[in-house]
């Protein structure tokens, strides 16, 4: 029996493709946490609004797909800024539990608002992308596209963080908040830029997820929790750790789905998470300090 049969290979590839999208999802959340030290519990609900944006612009108003995507990325980026200005900024000095409760409140607000505005009907883009048949494997084109776009998005964020002054300030502020003033950095401005970036990443994720999944007001529940688990597994605020954890999770889900049912994949992933919390509580790539 071949060690790498075709089904196993297909599951592995699908795992990598899923991992790319999960890595993108966790990057936005990690960025916001690392810089502002606040967890956007409502992160997946921002994505949900982005998915509705794609649905309305593309399917209802017939905008070109790429234009609709660009508008959604910018739009959700603005939602991120709004979330920061209206909810996070007034609570920056408050106890962490209050910040969690506030963004948790925004989660229910956004879910209810979506229910009122869009009803609970499941909707999709109505876009049928072909399935690639390669050496006996079936790989969906929309997953490949999502993977490629997620990768490009992450590379762009990486270049921004590595090459620009603002990017350096974003990395620096996560390491020493108080002395940023001595560098001439206005922390409030960096927070706004980070919120826009986190929102923009949620917007990009929305464009990619809506290619594969129906959108409804509670769709955030199907990938919000897993995004948090990935961030925690990788070590909250640790970008590299989140990246690795996303692929580990995706492979567990994909391989678990191959040998048993899809749901078992998630069970494995969560059991793995719980075990890892005992073994490496500070995250997969925890720094020794």
């Amino acid at each position: 029996m071949a060690i790498l049969d075709v089904f196993l290979l297909e599951a592995l590839i699908n795992g990598v493709l899923l991992g790319g999208v999960l890595a993108l999802l966790s990057l936005g959340l990690n960025l916001v946490f690392g810089v502002i030290d606040v967890v956007w519990i409502c992160y997946a609900e921002l994505i949900m609004f982005g998915m509705y944006g794609m649905y309305f612009l593309y399917t209802v108003y017939h905008w070109p797909l790429l234009v609709a995507a660009a508008v959604c990325i910018v739009g959700v980026g603005l939602l991120g800024v709004l979330l920061h200005v209206l909810v996070i900024a007034p609570l920056l000095g408050a106890a962490p539990i209050n910040q969690l409760l506030a963004t948790g409140g925004v989660l229910f607000f956004l879910q209810s608002a979506a229910t009122v505005m869009f009803s609970i009907e499941f909707r999709n883009l109505g876009l049928r992308l072909p399935v690639l048949k390669l050496a006996g494997m079936f790989i969906s084109y929309s997953r490949l596209l999502a993977f490629a776009a997620a990768l490009i998005g992450m590379v762009l964020v990486y270049l921004f963080l590595a090459r620009t002054y603002t990017g350096a300030a974003i990395r620096a502020i996560a390491q020493d908040r108080q002395i940023m003033v001595l560098m001439g950095v206005d922390a409030r401005r960096i927070y706004l830029i980070t919120s826009a970036l986190g929102g923009g990443l949620a917007g990009l994720a929305a464009c990619l997820l809506v290619l594969q999944y129906d959108v409804h007001p509670f769709v955030g529940l199907s990938f919000g929790p897993i995004t948090f688990l990935i961030c925690v597994l990788g070590g909250l605020g640790n970008f590299g750790g989140g990246f690795v954890a996303a692929f580990v999770f995706a492979e567990l889900i994909s391989l678990g789905g191959l040998y048993l049912d899809l749901e078992w994949g998630y069970v494995f992933a969560f059991v793995f998470f719980i075990v890892m919390m005992f073994v490496r509580p500070a995250g997969l790539l925890a720094r020794r300090s």
Binding site: A168, A169, A172, V181, L182, G184, V185, D186, R287
Partner: protein, 234 residues
Amino acid sequence: MLELRSVRAGYGGFQALFDVSLEVRHGEAVGVIGPNGAGKTTLLRVISGLIRPTSGSIAMEGVDLVATPPHRIVAVGIAHVPESRRLFPRMTVEDNLKMGGFLPSARAKYQDRLAFVYELFPRLRERRRQLAGTMSGGEQQMCAIGRALMSDPKLLLLDEPSAGLAPVIVEQLFDLVKRIRAGGLNVLIVEQNVRQVLRVVDRAYLLKAGSIRAAGPASELLASETIREAYLGV
């Protein structure tokens, strides 16, 4: 150039500075000496805007620093090397220097400033790709001073630069402070290492329990009976 008048400051209910008046004139290096907990660090923090005074005035070349938002104070020409260096430990040496040159005015002369800092501290050039937190204490102190110099300041605030360093390194460090001074930069330096600091500064203030107890030319303070007894142990 820098003038503090009756500055009071503290943390919460605790007052650390009581009516401190102090001056740094053009071309001067000034030292502030005093025991632990005298308020020396607070004094520098209140100048660079890390904390705000509760009363009194601080002016730098006619600019009212109390009315200036903290992140704009660097742009006035004041660079602060904070206590225990406070580098960004998981960033490279060069990224740390880049952060020191964050101001738009400093970005334009980034290459010049970088060359200047590397000439002053050749060791930093060797280590430019190394994570700052993995260097020795002396190298980290060089990096912290280099980072402050990246903004092309007129006044450099040094907080206990010799703390935790080996005596040989301290010697080198004060030589460097002399060289930086010779380049025309004003320095306000806070130190517990009284003997060393009085050798590099023109004037010094003695700060004790939050107020200035003595002031004068470094040579006078070195000769003063009270200072010799209390701080030099001779």
